[in-house]
Symmetry: C2
Subunit: 610 residues, 2 copies
Amino acid sequence: MKGYMGKILRVDLTKGRVETEKLDENLAKKFIGGSGLATKILYDETGPETDTLGPENRLIFMTGPFAATPVITSGRHHMVSKSPLTGAYTESDTGGTWGPFLKRAGFDGIVVSGKANKPVYLWVSDGKAEIRDASRFWGMDTYDLDEAIRKDTRPEAVVASIGPAGEKGVRYASILNDGREARAAGRGGTGAVMGSKNLKAIAVHGKMEVEIADPEGLRASLKEISPMVAKNTEGMRKNGTAGGLATFEALGSLPLQNWKFQGRWEQGAAKIAGPAMTEKILTGNYFCEKCVIGCGRRVKVDKGPFAPVEGAGPEYESVAMLGSLCLVDDIEAIAKANEICNRYGMDTISAGAAIAFAMEAYEKGIITKKDTGELELLWGRGDVMVKMTEKIGKREGLGQLLGEGVRIAAEKLGKNAVEFSLHVKGQEVPAHDPRCFNAGAVGYATINRGACHLGFSHVFERVLSMPEIGIDQPLPRLEVKGKGEAAAKTQNIMGLFDSLKLCKFTMFGGLKMTPILAWYNMVTGLSVTMDEFLKTGERIFNLKRMYNVRCGISRKDDTLPSRFLSLKHEGEGLNPNLPPLGELLYDYYKFRGWNEEGIPTPEKLKELGL
Amino acid sequence: MKGYMGKILRVDLTKGRVETEKLDENLAKKFIGGSGLATKILYDETGPETDTLGPENRLIFMTGPFAATPVITSGRHHMVSKSPLTGAYTESDTGGTWGPFLKRAGFDGIVVSGKANKPVYLWVSDGKAEIRDASRFWGMDTYDLDEAIRKDTRPEAVVASIGPAGEKGVRYASILNDGREARAAGRGGTGAVMGSKNLKAIAVHGKMEVEIADPEGLRASLKEISPMVAKNTEGMRKNGTAGGLATFEALGSLPLQNWKFQGRWEQGAAKIAGPAMTEKILTGNYFCEKCVIGCGRRVKVDKGPFAPVEGAGPEYESVAMLGSLCLVDDIEAIAKANEICNRYGMDTISAGAAIAFAMEAYEKGIITKKDTGELELLWGRGDVMVKMTEKIGKREGLGQLLGEGVRIAAEKLGKNAVEFSLHVKGQEVPAHDPRCFNAGAVGYATINRGACHLGFSHVFERVLSMPEIGIDQPLPRLEVKGKGEAAAKTQNIMGLFDSLKLCKFTMFGGLKMTPILAWYNMVTGLSVTMDEFLKTGERIFNLKRMYNVRCGISRKDDTLPSRFLSLKHEGEGLNPNLPPLGELLYDYYKFRGWNEEGIPTPEKLKELGL
């Protein structure tokens, strides 16, 4: 089977040993790569008893068949582990160039286990891998480290690494790659897992090539489709992913004041949206490998209280979570906090959520100046938001607590903090209000890694269609009927994107499943039908669910924070909604072939070959 | 102020001391009596730190102004405590004759604190009280004890007591009175509190009279209204409260198979409904003091596997919970289990729920024959249901676990047992399906003692009207609009019934709030307006909520078991519904003047004088 390097790198840090393992082609057929294949490995090698920050946890880096091929937006790779944030399944992915260069170095993926007895990094190049001492790099931030490791290996190497947050076990620590063109695998705390293993970085480089079954066919198809994707995503190229922020505000979907804000926030939104960023701090944009969209923001702030900032700018989630969620309307403060998150290596979504949570706790008197180190933790205070971001990265003062994530922080604070601790399964809610999207709501409630916007269902309730799964036109947002089914189907195809490793933004460019399947067949030489392809997406989703079921996850965890179920966001021109989650889940489970406890039936598992 | 004896008996069992305290008239005006007044005492004297089974907990017995007056159905009294089942507020009430005789003995209520160093009972008669040794009665069941204590005091004494379940700390142990005409204060585990204090019984007797401000007016009004109530409740007199069981089945409201049954159960329902009981085992009916309804069932089973049964028969909740919930369709088995619950002193609702929970756990393999002592814990097995009831009463084998209630039992069992552990705030769900009644659903979710059918809202969605609170005709069951408000308003008037101590079944007799208020004014001599009266109901409800808020209860606890939110009960002729709880709660909180966390606002508390 083409499209793969055929090798998985096994790294046992306890033993200080690296080994090469042959890729099991049957598994690759069944689970494709990326998310699917990595999940299968995690499923087989860890379980409920696995300590997420113990040596027995796995941290799995996995590319898909598209990496290092000409397929557009194929610069992505996937990380899968058991999450210290949720105690269950997690996955996170990122773009840039690391994935393709791992393949060019000769490997489809890396499975890290064990724990080194001192800080190390891994250097993978030209078919070989080496564990190297990283004691002198420990404590470095990801930007500085990128330079240092490239100096220690080679200048063209691509580095994925953790910052101080990952070292210190911030439960939503991220793994970043590509230096100042920071690409972050933020969610679920894979960075903390990496830190717990004393693994500071993985640098990759190589010049091997991946074989493609039908390079001519692929080239022809890409030639036809790439310009369409590029053209349809012009807005994203110009104003980044935050280009539509004002639209979200008008829809009531922008997160505001830890999701409790009433009314409209037009002026604030205008000050932090993509166009404002473009006007005020943008110096250019950048692309992941093979990307035709170019959403990456290059920004610079060289004066004022938040200088210096230089490098990757905040994307939509970061702007919203560090900004509007805290009622901060200062794009420079947001850019600064974003850079701190990148340098320290932590998820902007969870960090922003933790700060907004703390602001609400401060407002309610549950935490006081004594806890904040005299900081006035008030809504809208950009300077304070930036300071708190840094405190989390350093796990200093209140940052110690907030680095646990809002679920644990609320439990530790007690009182009624749990009421405004907004997460699903322990993962903080990202920047799309589930009250605005009924399929999005049941999607958030059921996605395996916890609250997650990349489950993506809500986008099909606004702008996207996907005829291959029966969504011929965008679904009405507040309709209930059919939304359980729509959520399940879109989750399944997201699993395909995550396993092939293809950027989901291509859908905004008009890309559909039919050409994607064609590319998959052209790359691999397989003759997979659309039915089989969609079934694979379903298989992957169900395998993750089964991992979670083993970890004790069931219907009780498929829920939304109560704020989304019982507080309407009212405001001029808004159409306040509370998602009827029970009804939605009923349809969802029924369509999924799960029982009422949310557990896949034996028949369903058999049907999927699980 | 008339209608009261003006005295509260204080019993400190640690010190072995009884004291008489003057009733505070201002408090009596503000909280009436019964539930309201007892709650105020609990609120002032206990709190979040109170160990429910420790000496510092209070067990408060309280009558209302109607007891020992000619007001119909005024034989009731109330018990309030901090619940060992829920860890929060609880209350339970019962009929019979104990309350009026407490008043005739000279006291409006009894506040028990402390813990006796050996079993004792309290003898209250003719204005005096005495703590007596009960060592020789410890271990006795309530039927035998009733005779023994009356022998030890006087034959006309009325005894409220606990059985072995209360002694052994079954978390839903009840307090029963009136011997074989068993009247049970079942819910919330007040019997376990009594047991924890080493208090086996309270016997009361006396001949004092309560003064009435306008006895003539009262008599005239009662003469007019009593016949109406009597006439409209003929069905209840004939077939008891289970008379309507088949109707509930047809509506989909009858609990079946731990609430997961799909389809219809007409034949089973017919075999256990009131008419079948009348035909098979009824020997007569009986009345509480001043009752014109006579729902009490006197039954006898003198042959077959469940003989002997003699005395009080099961009312609707008991039939449904010990019967249909376990798919048991044998009325003699149910009558036997009911008698065991009465003798051992435990709540039939929670006991039935615990057994059904165990049957489902057995079905799912979470418990096995090893746990059940080789019992085949199968749906529909009346003999096994009866044996399990006894095991719980004795806290023997699996009964030890089930005596903890389904919340704790599920936590201890682990696996996915929590998914089918059906309770609200720790209290088992009674026998009216909240999926059938949207106001009922939000009512269950918010009633202060946890899941509770005596919050009663659902009855206004089927048969009852109450113009004084704007419900001119029964509300459509599955309508959503206005149901949050309806639930709140009906909860408020239930607080009035519970504080006046008036039987709620009078509403089936057509009794409305206007004559009730008139009676209250005639008895007390006050000139309370309807607005003030309803406000008092609201005040009482909010005081209970504030007690719970102090115990950590908030929005997060105002929910329903997931089965009711995401599993439809489908069947021929049924109209499957899942209550949109978020929407309902939103309206409910708004109407209540509570914030989104379910906490009464300072303005609301001020308005209510709290």
